[in-house]
Amino acid sequence: MRSQWIILFKKEFRESIRNFKWLWIPTVFVLLGLMQPITSYYIADILEQFGGLPEGTVMELPPPSGAEVLTGTLGQFSQIGFLVLVLAFMGTVVTEKNQGTLIMVLVKPVSYVNYLTAKWVHLLILSLTSFVLGFVMSVYYTFLLIDTIPISQVVNGALVYALWITFVMTIVLCLSALLNSTAFVAFATLGTAILFSIFSLYAPDLMKGTPGMLATYSQQFFYLGEVESGFWISIFVTLGLILAMMIATIFLFNKKEFAKDVQ
């Protein structure tokens, strides 16, 4: 039933256009992408003008490297960007479930696989498009104002980071399908992402081969153009986890009862 998948996908797409998610989420990412290179470039001037430094202070800030700026951009995406994405999509299934629109859909001969994967693909397209737009902005201004680094390093780093986004967004969808509260979906997703990041920052050896290292690997691409061992394990483990989460969610979703007792 491929055509049914398309119908469900189109519904998601139209919904996100009508409630302007397709406008404001990419906008947030573009702004985040712009800000990092521009503030890095003008930081000395900004401090001079507004920093309240005593008269006559000589500012000698070493100019940041291109890799540093791009890493900073991804840092922004990981914080504000993820927050925006998770808040925008935490209710993707929960809300339909709680409002009762879900049963109106599932009482039609709708395959649960189609229902969930249509949402998943739409979610990924919107978040990855936003990421690409924002990151392209960042790269453009970094090259223009600061420094250039080989384009292949940039692309590799971005691809690895895109997988990290995919992983986090899959968690949002799966939790949204399985839990009953939007707040808990957001809390659990952001919590997982933060735990992964913290552990891979302070105990990288422990986190070797997990999705948590992906952001670190993308930085290594920017700085060095090559990654340490364990990279491919991380990639495959992440892909495996994404697949496993989707299969498990579809399986559990199939067993769920959606009609609520109103009595």
Binding site: Q99, G100, I103, V105, K108, A259, Q263
Partner: protein, 300 residues
């Protein structure tokens, strides 16, 4: 062969039994009512039929001509239908039709036809979020019907509506009987009497009375006389108390309600009764008791 037959259908929620082993058989081409007070297990039963709930025990068999996913042959209107508020009425019905497998063109023309049928042709382009309760109910019926299901299941279709909306939906249901089979739940006996052919009365998760409306009426309805006179009737009533056609008398000064066994005999005897004539008749009315009495008796 019936359209749907359930055998020993049971649903338990954490130990409490909501539906206790009921056997339903829904005939094709007619309107069936599932009648009962709130909490009788009507909604739970309907949810199991639609597949939105899994029965704890028992089986549901659909007509053998309609194999595969049962949902293809069912249209469903929940008690509180919820739509995507950002869609227009027409968009929603088209969406529902496409989900059920209709092609884009077919979906569009069927959706328009259905909106016309339920009287929403004008409001089709309005956002659903701006619909009134009655409009939402009718939109719900349109989306349930759009893929030409063999059976539409309506959960309390008129309960939440004002008198006008209620009348509209009941009239609509009468029209729909010519197109498809209907199964609907209600706690209002009058609605069931008005549109349905078969009635199942549920109480505390069990079916207590079932049968066709005609059969129930014949079994449980009795001919009744309402008599009103200028003078008090108590003494006269004493004289007829022994008549074998009389079943039950209720008297209030100069008004009396007589439930009788045989309409013909009772009428002839009453009208030729000299004493009654002397009491100066004001009103002499022949009627039938409604099923209300049965319903109340069952529900006690």
């Amino acid at each position: 062969m019936h359209l749907i037959e359930t055998i020993g259908l049971t649903k338990k929620f954490n130990g409490t039994v909501a539906v206790k082993g009921i056997n339903l058989s829904i005939r094709e081409g007619i309107c069936t009512a599932l009648l009962g007070p709130n909490g009788a297990g009507k909604t739970t039963t309907l949810n199991m039929l639609t597949g939105l709930m899994n029965p704890t025990e028992g089986s549901i068999d659909f007509h053998e001509d309609y194999s595969g996913d049962r949902r293809k042959y069912l249209g469903y209107l929940p008690q509180y239908p919820k739509f995507f508020g950002w869609m227009s009425g027409l968009e929603y019905v088209v969406f529902a039709a496409e989900l059920a497998g209709l092609s884009k063109e077919a979906a569009k023309s069927r959706a328009k036809e259905m909106l016309e049928l339920v009287g929403l042709a004008e409001g089709g382009n309005k956002k659903v979020s701006g619909f009134s309760g009655g409009m939402k109910q009718r939109l719900g019926i349109a989306q349930a019907l759009v893929h030409e299901p063999k059976l539409i299941i309506l959960d309390e279709p008129v309960s939440a509506l004002d008198p006008i909306g209620r009348r509209e939906v009941l009239e609509l249901m009468k029209q729909l009987k010519t197109r498809t089979s209907i199964l609907f739940s209600t706690h209002v006996l009058h609605d069931a009497e008005e549109v349905s052919d078969d009635i199942f009365i549920m109480k505390k998760g069990e079916i207590v009375v079932e049968g066709s409306l005609v059969k129930l009426q014949n079994t449980y309805q009795q001919p009744t006389f309402f008599i009103e006179t200028e003078m008090e009737m108590a003494n006269w009533l004493e004289t007829i108390k022994q008549k074998e056609w009389l079943r039950h008398v209720k008297v209030d000064k100069n008004k009396a309600t007589l439930t009788v066994e045989n309409l013909q005999t009772a009428r002839t005897e009453l009208l030729s009764d000299k004493t009654l004539q002397e009491l100066k008749l004001i009103k002499f009315e022949v009627a039938k008791t409604s099923l209300e009495d049965l319903f109340m008796k069952v529900m006690k």
